[in-house]
């Protein structure tokens, strides 16, 4: 995986990156709105190997197979929408500052503006909603978006992740796992938690390898 992907050349993505993009997109789609019957059936078809992530996917598939669509949508409402507020506030600003629409959202909007990403029509949550940031990560992994334009220290996919997701995503998935109403979403939280953990460690390893190769001396 290269941090300096060029958008015009559209390099062939490695299979690993395609899979990462799919996982980010799956997490984003589940956190964006409650899954319908078709989505649940698709989830029920997932299989996992013996790794922690594989086991989490297997549990998610079993949960989805036995889940009731109305119950899941009700649960989504209780956890993310609620009356007054949901049980969770899945926004970067809230997790980092304790308040909504704070500086983390401003930073994210600035970065998205530099990357040329705008909020889609009919999406009303602020951009620092976990699903929106996960969608951006999916786009970065798939090579649709280019994060190399961001400033020094935040450039590339690793920089974007480190700045906008790493400080709070793990905490969010932990909260999602223990929130009172979560049944189906407890399995989603497990997948998300393990996946974010893997991403964090992978980016750290990559940075370490990058430094060891001496590439840091030549700049980005």
């Amino acid at each position: 995986m290269t941090t300096a992907s060029t958008a015009n050349a559209a390099p062939a993505r490695s299979e690993q990156d395609v899979l990462r993009a799919q996982q980010w997109a799956l997490i984003a789609s589940l956190l964006l709105k409650a899954p319908d019957r078709g989505a649940l059936d698709m989830l029920a078809g997932l299989t996992g190997d013996g790794t922690a992530l594989g086991q989490a996917y297997r549990v998610l598939a079993e949960t989805a197979a036995s889940a009731d669509v109305d119950a899941v949508s009700r649960e989504y409402f209780e956890v993310f929408v609620g009356v007054g507020r949901g049980e969770l506030l899945p926004y970067a600003s809230f997790y980092l500052t304790g308040f909504l629409n704070e500086r983390p959202l401003a930073d994210l909007r600035r970065d998205l503006g530099m990357m040329g990403i705008a909020r889609a029509e009919g999406r009303f949550e602020p951009e620092d909603h976990i699903a929106s940031v996960a969608e951006v990560m999916a786009g970065l992994a798939a090579g649709e978006f280019d994060a190399s334009v961001l400033g020094c220290g935040a450039a590339g996919e690793a920089g974007f992740f480190a700045r906008h997701l790493e400080p709070w995503a793990a905490q969010f998935f932990d909260d999602l796992a223990v929130t009172p109403s979560a049944r189906f979403y407890r399995a989603v939280a497990e997948v998300g938690r393990i996946f974010v953990d893997i991403e964090t460690r992978a980016f750290a390893l990559e940075a370490k390898a990058h430094r060891a190769s001496g590439a840091g001396a030549r700049g980005l």
């Binding site: 609620g82 809230f94 997790y95 304790g98």
Partner: protein, 178 residues
């Protein structure tokens, strides 16, 4: 909102004009807690050219939401009642110092802060004791998200804080076509 109306008598003093172009005007000069049986505008005393008029009795309305202002007033060196005159007639009498000073900023008005009679002060104290609700001013400041002392919104909404319909029409099933 509980409120209480006190009546206070206003005395006005008019001094002789200082020069031949000035005209006499009556300025509120003193307050009395017990109301005399005089009609408003009656001449009460005349010492040389200085005349004292009775300017009528007026309502001082105490509002329970402004007890903090009355406390500030009573704690001041000279507890006062603000009397506002418009065109020679008293239009408003208030025990709220902030309202009084706001009226004083209007150049069209003649506003005087007069010493509060002791009886009125006692009545206001009773009103404060009955209705004052102490509110601690809490300045919101940025603290790290990891702070445990700051009262911030909980990351996970506790079950007891969740909104549920318990009473009223909302608890009934929605009306509509069967």
């Amino acid at each position: 909102m509980p409120r209480e109306v006190l009546r206070v008598a206003v005395l006005g003093v008019s001094h002789p004009p200082a020069n031949k172009w000035a005209v006499r005007c009556t300025r509120p000069a003193a307050l009395m807690a017990d109301l005399p049986t005089l009609s408003p505008g009656a001449l009460m005393a005349e010492v040389g050219e200085v005349r004292t008029y009775y300017m009528g009795d007026h309502a001082v309305v105490l509002h329970s939401g402004e007890t903090a202002h009355y406390i500030d007033n009573l704690r001041a060196a000279r507890p006062s009642i603000w009397v506002s005159c418009d065109g020679g007639a008293v239009t408003l009498v208030t025990a709220d110092p902030y309202e009084g000073e706001a009226m004083a900023s209007d150049p069209e008005r003649l506003v005087e802060a007069l010493d509060m009679p002791a009886a009125i002060a006692r009545q206001i104290e009773v009103f404060i004791a009955a209705h004052h609700v102490g509110e601690v001013f809490h300045k919101r400041k940025r603290v790290p998200a990891t702070s445990t002392t700051d009262q911030r919104a909980p990351r996970i909404l506790p079950a007891e804080e969740k909104w549920t319909v318990t009473r009223g029409k909302g608890a009934l099933p929605p009306k509509g076509k069967i």
